[in-house]
């Protein structure tokens, strides 16, 4: 895989009309103009006198470095696979036993659920924060800045622990008039259960990061758009909702995809407060049967599967939104 990235496979190798040497320069071999035109343009770099036939009869450039790297990586990969297969400590049988075990699947579902809810909070919160941050009211803008500063400036792990221990800080939570009577109140440990602590920890932190992404997206929209909307008598809120945000989406969506993939893995942090997501589910099992490595492999395989699915989805989304970029070109026409 990695070798393919470093040196694209020579496309010319599959073209029957070319020299059988696989290292033939792909640019020369697949250029249709060169392959079909009986008198190819001299600009192609062919030596004088050789450009008469159908093919360029040149000695292809050799790439010894690429070959060496390919061989080295191949050897390493073979060693890795060999060790995976022969080292009994991996216990692939145990991995297979637990991959679809009920507690693991339940943890998997919790991870997906947590990711979705935390990202929903993050996205909505991020949009709200970004808008507040751009408010003409300095107090409102300052409050949003403070939020972002705090939640980006402290470790997520600390925030998650903080939410799980909020009961120690405010043993009773109540809803009512500030400094006045309260309508409902209750024990904080009942109001903020484990799930809420996990979701708040992940979601409120994510909102701070999403706020910056949304703000960059909004700032990226041409000021002339707001101006045109204002000139038509549209209010600030209407302009934002109907004109600016839809255009900002194009730049907001790709990094949001990255954030979602990252969130999927970050949910594993809430295992420290014993929220039973994928990692915690596997930890509970190996705490009993001591099959630590195989169960960590089970978790890793599931994380890989989910991030792969998300990556494909992200590519799809980006492709869709890239189509709209044509609009940018037209502006100056």
């Amino acid at each position: 895989m990695t070798t393919a990235d470093a040196s694209p496979p020579p496309r010319g190798a599959t073209t029957p009309a070319t020299d059988p040497t696989p290292a033939a320069d792909p640019a020369l071999a697949t250029d249709p103009a060169l392959a079909t035109d009986p008198a190819p343009a001299p600009a192609a770099g062919a030596a004088p006198g050789t450009g008469v036939g159908v093919d360029v009869d040149a000695v292809p450039l050799r790439h010894p470095g690429r070959w060496a790297a390919g061989v080295a990586i191949g050897v390493l990969a073979a060693m890795g696979v060999h060790s995976l297969v022969t080292n009994r400590n991996f216990q692939w049988g145990t991995v297979g036993d637990y991959l679809f075990a009920e507690p693991v699947l339940r943890g998997l579902w919790a991870t997906v659920y947590l990711t979705v809810i935390a990202m929903a909070i993050g996205i909505v919160g991020g949009i709200v924060l970004a808008i507040l941050r751009m408010s003409p009211n300095p107090v409102v803008a300052g409050a949003a800045w403070l939020y972002i500063w705090f939640f980006r400036g402290t470790p997520l792990l600390v925030q998650i622990l903080f939410w799980s221990f909020i009961g120690a800080l405010y043993p009773r939570l109540s809803l009512g008039i500030p400094f006045g009577p309260s309508f409902v109140s209750g024990d904080a440990n009942h109001i903020v259960p484990l799930f809420a602590a996990a979701v708040l920890g992940l979601g409120l932190n994510e909102a701070a990061y999403m706020a910056e992404i949304v703000r960059a997206g909004i700032n990226g929209v041409d000021a002339g758009q707001t101006e045109a909307a204002s000139a038509l008598g549209m209010s600030r809120a209407l302009t934002l909702r109907r004109i600016v945000l839809p255009q900002a989406m194009r730049t907001i969506i790709p990094p949001t995809g990255n954030e979602t993939i990252s969130m999927l893995k970050t949910t594993s942090l809430v295992s420290v407060i014993s929220y039973n997501e994928l990692l915690n589910a596997t930890r509970l099992i190996y705490a009993r049967n001591f099959q630590t490595i195989p169960l960590l492999i089970v978790a890793a395989l599931w994380y890989l599967a989910l991030t792969s699915v998300l990556t494909v989805g992200q590519h799809q989304l980006e492709r869709r939104f890239a189509r709209g970029t044509l609009a940018r070109v037209g502006e100056r026409r």
């Binding site: 041409d222 758009q225 045109a228 940018r328 026409r333």
Partner: protein, 257 residues
């Protein structure tokens, strides 16, 4: 100029500064309803700033500016001048159409959607009626068949014609044009000017910032020459463009022609 009608725009010693920089110094000007006023002048002379003050995209720093007999951005109450709320400013802007040098169409909306957006969302017109009127406006600017096209799929001239239709959809009583043909390839200038000429003959009150002196000569009732934030000279095109009294006007015209 008939003295009885309320002027569409009345500027009295309007000043505008950006920090230290003074963009408009004591601009006084009257625009009569139904007339076309062309603003000409060198780059940086304050033409755009003046247009933007008229629909309160910029707030004036001094003087007095009225549109259709009402102060722009303020109201007078018991002899005191008070700032208007954003909602009231927006309500007044609806009555003034603006066409920009760079079109500023909404790229994520089709031509028709661009036109009906404000009538539906701001004027609360019924969608079916707005669509019908939007199509009529597109036909009027010669783009009946491009209703479903996105701005990126239109030429510059077509985009500007859609932008004019979009402004007209709000039924403005005054239209502001800020160099509407400056961003266009030369062969596309004519189609936009043609729409504007047609609008002028229909009696629309228009203020047009332009370097197209041919258009000014044909369509304008009044030409205003601005320089360094001041109105240097005002007059009918026949005199101002051919026999200007001020040396600066003469110098500018000789460069543009």
């Amino acid at each position: 100029m008939s003295g009885t009608a309320v002027p569409m725009v009345r500027a009295e010693r309007v000043r505008k500064s950006f920090g230290q920089h003074v963009a408009l110094r004591e601009v006084s000007l009257t625009v009569v309803p139904g007339e076309v006023t062309c603003l000409i002048g060198p780059s940086g002379s304050g033409k755009t700033t003046f247009l933007r003050c008229i629909n309160h995209l910029e707030q004036i720093s001094g003087g007095r500016l009225e549109v259709d007999g009402e102060l722009v951005g303020y109201r007078e109450h018991r002899g005191r001048i008070r700032e208007l709320r954003p909602r009231d400013i927006a309500r007044k802007r609806r009555e003034i159409g603006m066409v920009f040098q760079r079109f500023n169409l909404f790229p994520h909306l089709t031509a028709l959607e661009n036109i009906i957006e404000a009538p539906v969302r701001v004027r609360a017109e019924r969608r079916s009626e707005a669509v019908e009127r939007g199509r009529a406006l597109l036909a009027r600017v010669g783009l009946a068949d491009r209703a479903g096209a996105y701005p990126a799929e239109l030429s510059g001239g077509q985009q500007q014609r859609v932008a004019i239709a979009r402004a007209l959809a709000m039924r403005p009583k005054l239209m502001l044009f800020d160099e509407p043909t400056s961003a266009l390839d030369p062969e596309l200038v004519g189609e936009v000017l043609e729409i504007m000429r047609q609008l002028a003959t229909e009696g629309m009150t228009m203020i047009v910032v332009t370097h197209e002196l041919g258009f000014a000569r044909q369509a304008a009732d009044t030409v205003v020459f601005m320089d360094a934030g001041r109105v240097v000279e005002v007059g009918p095109p026949a005199t101002l463009l051919t026999a200007p009294t001020h040396e600066r006007t003469r110098a500018f015209l000789s460069k543009v022609l």
